[in-house]
């Protein structure tokens, strides 16, 4: 099985890797590039733990082949904090205790970031529907929704 050379951009950095054409983007991120923040929950697009932003669109990286990333731009959880400075969503998740085991958290943060980039002032219903593809078995979701709403308010410059 010959591997395919893939050149892409991850969190702004040009990267290249050799991928078996059957390998998912998730496996390439984790195993070829060592970016293990994106998680595999189900591997079938149901749980959202592997969420990344591919050319501006939120996708499950388990449902994208690594070779499809050729020439594209991928944003993962690793690109969310700026050095030591957490993204407001990350800070609010800690403040609101919006995570317990943490396995779903990277995917939810990436998905929430994608939401706030297109809709800076979502209603609670909009947040819940947008994140319906991100499953969390610990929190019961309420804390996650509150954290996202609070982060959105902060990003809009409103005092919480």
């Amino acid at each position: 099985m010959s591997k395919i050379h893939v050149t892409t951009k991850v969190n702004g950095d040009p990267v290249e890797f050799l991928a078996d054409p059957r390998e998912t983007l998730l496996d390439c991120l984790r195993d070829r590039l060592g970016l293990t923040g994106s998680k595999e929950g189900c591997g079938t697009g149901d749980c959202g733990a592997c969420s990344v932003i591919l050319d501006g669109r939120l996708v499950c990286s388990c449902l994208v082949l690594g070779v499809e990333a050729q020439g594209k731009a991928v944003e993962t959880i690793e690109g969310m904090a700026q050095g030591e400075d957490l993204h407001p969503l990350q800070r609010k998740f800690i403040e609101h205790a919006a995570l317990q085991c943490g396995f779903c958290t990277p995917g939810i943060l990436v998905a929430a970031k994608a939401l706030l980039e297109t809709n800076p002032d979502p209603t609670e219903t909009e947040v819940r529907y947008w994140l319906a593809g991100n499953l969390c078995r610990c929190t019961g979701y309420d804390k996650i929704i509150r954290a996202v709403m609070d982060a959105a308010a902060e990003l809009r410059g409103e005092a919480a």
Partner: protein, 288 residues
């Protein structure tokens, strides 16, 4: 597995026609990659169509209809104001498919070619009178969407053929469409019953109508007798009742874990009524 990235549909058809083993086309991948992962399908040749120019585009046709590229994901349909204004029923069907993440990848062409009787985008395409352009080794042909599904997981596409575009007719004046489905929750589920209605008014009366049902037969199906029940009426109570009865009578569902056959027949009638009301309101110019 050989991974191909043809630049034209003709090349894609040539690769598929020459392939000896299992072949799959890749657009959004939300079905194919799941099947590969489950070991249900192990393609020898995977043909990625997204390098073909136009596959990501939504374009007006010369006659005022729409030509939708086979790799346009649901989220791009929902974000296209003019398309949503023309064919809200088509777009709302596609938008019911999966999560935000799935919407970032899943396509109309994939939903159609996957061949599920419960495919949410297919009833709306059928009632809109959409056709698919098919490219194959023998050239290009068109086929009405209702003639594509042939049974669960089966389509009318011949070996080497693939859908190269989805074409919606011009909306025209005083038209409205709608798609509704029943699921036992608010989203992230597969239709127990789906129903699309598309109609056109003339002088406040329904002049043309098409009704399609999903998940109540081996394929999504057009139901001419349900349409006939409302043509010539202003969708009064008697017409609604006749529509519901015709939809219920046409439904040939199975009983499974999602619902019994009896329940599905009943719901087919209820959804037909409700979808017709919304389509009627949209045809009058309401934006609901």
């Amino acid at each position: 597995m050989r991974y191909h990235t043809p630049q034209t549909f003709e090349d894609a058809a040539r690769i598929a026609a020459a392939a000896q083993g299992v072949t799959r086309f890749l657009a959004g991948g939300t079905d194919v990659l799941v099947q590969m992962r489950a070991g249900m399908v192990q393609p020898d040749d995977l043909i990625d169509l997204k390098h073909i120019p136009g596959t990501q585009d939504i374009a007006r046709t010369e006659d005022g209809g729409w030509r939708i590229g086979i790799a346009v994901p649901g989220i791009a349909l929902g974000g296209h104001e003019a398309l949503c204004a023309d064919w809200p029923g088509v777009v709302e069907g596609m938008e019911l498919v999966g999560s935000t993440q799935i919407q970032g990848r899943a396509t109309l062409a994939g939903n159609l070619c996957n061949g599920s009787p419960a495919a949410d985008s297919v009833p709306g395409l059928i009632t809109a009178g959409a056709v698919v352009e098919i490219t194959g080794p023998a050239g290009t042909r068109t086929l009405p969407v209702e003639d594509v599904p042939q049974g669960p997981g089966r389509t009318a596409l011949k070996p080497g053929e693939l859908v190269s575009a989805i074409i919606l007719p011009p909306r025209g004046d005083y038209g409205g469409d709608c798609y509704l489905r029943f699921i036992p929750r608010t989203e992230m589920d597969i239709a127990v019953v789906g129903c699309a209605v598309n109609l056109r008014l003339k002088g406040g009366v329904i002049a043309e109508a098409r009704v399609a049902l999903g998940a109540v037969a081996p394929t999504v199906m057009l139901v001419p007798e349900a349409a006939a029940a409302i043509v010539g009426t202003a969708l009064d109570a008697a017409a609604e009742e006749a529509l519901a009865q015709a939809a219920t009578a046409a439904a040939k569902p199975i009983s499974d874990k999602r619902g019994t056959a009896e329940f599905r027949r009943e719901v087919a009638g209820v959804l037909a009524k409700r979808a017709a009301r919304i389509a009627f309101a949209r045809a009058k110019g309401d934006t609901a």
